[in-house]
């Protein structure tokens, strides 16, 4: 007899859908089916069942050969590496729960590490912009219940956040939005004709990298001031039309992704997108929201915030928390050769960092805590496999609108497998012994 576990939270993207149903075998060991999830979310659950999954820590010797080691050895290597380093980089944290993040922060405090999360290569620019100009935002339920004007700027939810439009932004019928998508206007700004753009009422196919100009032009148009004939490849009339569409809405939401956060102008794009949102509040109600990628990158920013006061790239090496994006950010530290050990948990810099950074990781003492084989595990000295958070372990995660949800455990991990938090707890104990801290 299989059993169904309901209200399961998906540990894939920042949409954090919490209505999944997972069918597990009677002994609670095997996931049979996943209902309600998108194709990526389903795969995340099913992937945990891979037969060839690594369950024993592996360490590279000097010739580059991988050998199995015990968990005790893995804990010892990690603790010694962190304690011996002058400035270890502790990167990742976006695919684990807040409890593990918290434990990692305590270790970082004791060893004088730098704690950075994946925002450093995605929405870190957004966080900087928020520090410049603030952010008028809302929860996704406000979008569902009130919003009648939706803008997707430099993002492609059809592929990256597959249930976003059906759960929150375009299709659902909410309290004041009884007609669902029929009463919503959808604007997409993207140089590519994505599957999201194809669905839009209006696709502004902007010239690549000219977002700042188009956002400026929209601010001008909203004020009713004159515009040149085209801006960023978009005709004046279209810009004026979009401005009018937004102003005439009852509740406007701008969602934006890495198309603007990591293109030319970076945080300045977000500064002006927020300024546009502020302007719209003089005429109607408007909010803006980043499309966060990892399911708990937002949580990492929150926990860092309440414990140290900054949302990413927090440098604890001087005995107090220091924050300086461009200086204390992972890639800057790696490429300047300023860190002497690398600890990765809950992300994959090997796949996403510039090759110059990845080469540096490969040269340093390094640990990757990760259930999968990834490009990062390939370059690190030690690969510590762990349980999947959100599948084999519960704990808190924050959705892209900062709403915290407790993820659920649906199956047992392979026998003897530690969770991130348990592994970090053991490292913390050992670090305290080495450092002689009570």
């Amino acid at each position: 007899m299989a059993k169904i576990i309901s209200d399961v939270v998906c540990p894939f993207c920042g949409t954090l859908c919490d209505d999944l149903e997972v069918k597990v075998s009677d002994d609670g060991k095997e996931i049979l089916e996943v209902y309600n999830a998108c194709v990526i979310g389903t795969e995340k659950f099913l992937h945990s069942q891979a037969k060839d999954r690594l369950t024993v820590p592996m360490k590279q010797d000097e010739e580059g050969n991988w050998n199995e080691v015990s968990v005790d050895d893995a804990v010892e290597y990690t603790a010694q590496m962190l304690c011996n380093a002058k400035k270890p980089l502790m990167y990742g944290w976006s695919s684990t729960n807040c409890e593990a993040q918290s434990k990692g922060h305590e270790i970082a405090e004791l060893v004088g590490g730098v704690v950075d999360n994946t925002a450093t290569v995605c929405h870190g620019t957004t966080l900087i912009a928020v520090q410049d100009v603030g952010v008028p935002s809302c929860t996704l339920g406000e979008v569902k219940n009130r919003a009648d004007r939706i803008v997707f700027w430099g993002c492609n939810p059809a592929h990256a956040h597959p249930r976003h439009m059906s759960r929150y932004s375009i299709f659902p019928r909410g309290f004041f939005t009884g007609k669902g998508h029929k009463a919503r206007k959808m604007v997409v700004v993207d140089p590519r004709s994505t599957d999201t753009a194809k669905m839009a009422d209006l696709h502004m196919q902007i010239e690549q990298g000219r977002d700042y100009e188009l956002l400026s032009a929209l601010r001008v148009a909203i004020r009713g001031n004159p515009l040149p004939e085209t801006v960023a490849g978009i005709p004046r009339e279209t810009i004026q039309d979009v401005a009018e569409t937004l102003k005439s809405g009852r509740f406007v939401v701008i969602f934006f992704g890495m198309g603007v956060t990591q293109s030319l102008s970076k945080n300045h794009n977000i500064d002006i997108a927020i300024a546009l949102t502020r302007d719209l509040n003089d005429y109607t109600k408007a909010a803006i929201m980043p499309m966060r990628g990892h399911y708990n990158v937002t949580g990492s920013g929150q926990v860092l915030g309440w414990q140290f006061g900054y949302p990413f790239c927090v440098d604890l090496s001087r005995g107090f928390a220091r924050y300086n994006p461009g200086d204390s950010t992972s890639n800057d530290l790696l490429r300047r050769g300023e860190v002497d050990a690398v600890f990765v948990l809950g992300s994959d810099p090997g796949a996403h960092f510039p090759i110059s950074s990845v080469k540096k990781i490969a040269q340093l003492p390094s640990v990757c805590v990760e259930p999968h084989y990834t490009p990062t595990t390939a370059v690190c000295k030690l690969h510590m496999p762990v349980a999947f958070v959100g599948v084999e372990e519960g704990g808190c995660a924050y959705r892209m609108d900062n709403v915290p949800i407790e993820t659920r455990k649906v199956v047992e991990p392979p026998e003897g497998m530690l969770s991130d938090e348990e592994f970090l707890e053991r490292v913390l104990e050992r670090v305290k012994e080495i450092k002689g801290v009570a």
Partner: protein, 569 residues
Amino acid sequence: MAEYLIKNGFVFDPVLEINGDKVDIAIKDGKIVQSTEIKNPTVVDAAGKTVMAGGVDIHAHVAGPKVNVGRNYRPEDKLFNYEPRKGVKRMAGGFSVPTVFRTGYKYAQMGYTTVMEAAMPPLYARHTHEEMRDTPILDQGAYPVFGNNWFVLEYLKNHEVENAAAYISWLLRTTRGYAIKIVNPGGTEAWGWGLNCNSIHDPVPYFDITPAQIMKGLMDANEALRLPHSIHIHTNNLGNPGNYETTLDTFKLFQGEKPNNDFGREQVMHHTHVQFHSYGGDNWGNVESKADEIMNYVNNNDNMTMDLGCVTLDETTTMTADGPFEHHLTELNHLKWANTDVELETAAGVVPYIYSPNVKVCGIQWAIGLELALLAKDPMRVFITTDHPNAGPFFRYPRVMKWLMSQDAREAQMDALKWAEKVRSATLLSGLDRELTLYEIAAMTRAGTAKALGLSHMYGSLKPGLEADVAVYDYNPETAEDPELIEKAFGNAAYLFKGGEIVVKEGEVVSNGNKKTLWVDAKVAENPQVQRDVAEKFLRYYTVTQANYEVNEKVFMKNPYRIEVDATQ
């Protein structure tokens, strides 16, 4: 557990009516006991020192989503104030929005042991509890906001107080909340459309109910539930010239109402940060103090309590569930603005603010906060707060005490204002020669707040049987003359005992204590209609499922302490 005897101190305890007498305080098993009950105590010599119960803060914003927005979006708030890890202390920083560690340590150094988080959006309850869990030392609880909640608006519009009460009981239990908070009733829901309710009779868009009906209905529900604390109101029209009339209109809604509870609470409503609600005039040019009219009402109606919201003339970070107010403020000062509207429940905004001594209005605000306390006839009903961090950071309480206890200190600050004469003529402060005593301060910071919270069986006094939360200050009331000594001594407790354990010793934090998280479990008769309504709203309008809404006590709370109330009768 260790036994302690705190000897020879000058004790101030309004509950026991001890006014500076030398009384020995005995501690055993985490409680205050009679001196005869201890056998082999560690003696703490408090000769020449002031002894009070641990401080109880009734209203501060110290944990939760808007507090964390304040931290994360203001890196500048951490400049020059970071403290390294030391002994039992984690590294800690932040001025107006300190990290959770700094919050715990700073309150402890002021001799405070209990602090209530004044506004918790229910959907973000988990976040609020996570921050409280990481805050060392302090016993804490959080007030979920109800004044713009769709369930409440709908039930009260239909005069269904019983259903509103059943819903409140459910929400308090689900979010592990402590009391009913009301912020800009109706106005924050209107803000969902960019609108506001500026008086207590402005109808809420769509819901067709007025703020007055919301507040009155929630009071009825609160008393039907027999909750330890009363409704906790931040009324409409905050921060606007002429708003004292709205405030008085709000007060009058509750005239003659009687409390109903078993916790010794005597008020039916608490109004918070009244300084922000006591303005006369009709524009910023002619704004003036109406503290006298406000306090005239408060003094003559003993079924209400209030706190001050004193402006401390600092750079700070304002944050409130009054979403439209924060938009108004950012239009005023053009500094950065954060806002979050929360589905079906509330909203919140965050804007930095500088209360400059060079700005006339800031001087007037500073004076009004102090006037309210100096005009109070019953210090057991009027409490010291800064609405942290809205009117100033909480660690300025000792400075506020200095101003309240010394006319010289007030006048020195008044003289230092750029527009001192204009402030004098728009306010009453210079005409008030009252200087509050330590006995009155103890009422305003401990005995009164504990009683108003329905926690006088645990905190606020040195009565045997209560929690052994005791603060010892290096302040000799017989010889101290310089008012600066007040600020210094009360910001650096010589000793703090929390639950019978020494947490601060000679000004240093030596333990992270064993904090409790307080919440109220009010039992009501089974109510199928409310159960059905909750299920339907979650299915159709929320974006989390009902099963994922409840705060898991084991995961998210440190030492949960449930206060049970039986409202089934």
